[in-house]
Amino acid sequence: MIRVLFFGPVAERVRTREMQLDFEPGMTLHDVISQLGAQHPAAFGIVSLIAVNQNQVHDKQVALHDNDEIAFMAKFSGG
């Protein structure tokens, strides 16, 4: 199972804070982006950072593992 998290402005556009996707062997980050991005284009339009297991990732071809936690995040605005 893959846990997908949304926060702040992204969560508002997806209309949820968390989703669970079934894990499939060979699954990549790109697969998740393609699937969710098509369903939530407005939300993914403001995504500027992606973290897998709380570490920022730049390579969308990265392989996922069962129980990974993915966060799709808009530009930070704290402080």
Binding site: G8, E12, I46, M73, G78, G79
Partner: protein, 141 residues
Amino acid sequence: MSEPVRIQEQDFSQDEEIAALKASSKRTGGIATFLGCARDFSEGRDVSELSFEAYGSMALAEMNRLRDEAIAKFGLLDARIVHRVATVRAGDNIVFIAAGAEHRAAAFDACRWMIDELKQRVPIWKKEVTSWGEAWVTQHP
């Protein structure tokens, strides 16, 4: 003694943070701090409330890394970073950063670096509640 890096809903006391910072070294000669607070004026609109949300586990890990990096990079004796995740009104505290060093130059440089980095690197988002309604502060990527 409270942790030097925290994300919390409640307000904090600068006197308590500074006392904790000083307790870590008797060699501290200069402490620079930055306190960010809610303004009632943001780009021409009246902001009545700000509301913060964090990716808690990642934000806390990143703030701890940031503190460690600042201590190493600037030769600090200690540093503290506290960010509130709450709904605040004009004048309320949002973020506090303190850098303690033997001399003031390192303390100032480190404090400024930490708040600049925090804004870039720590997954926290701000929503403004104005007389027009409410809106997340977003910049297109």
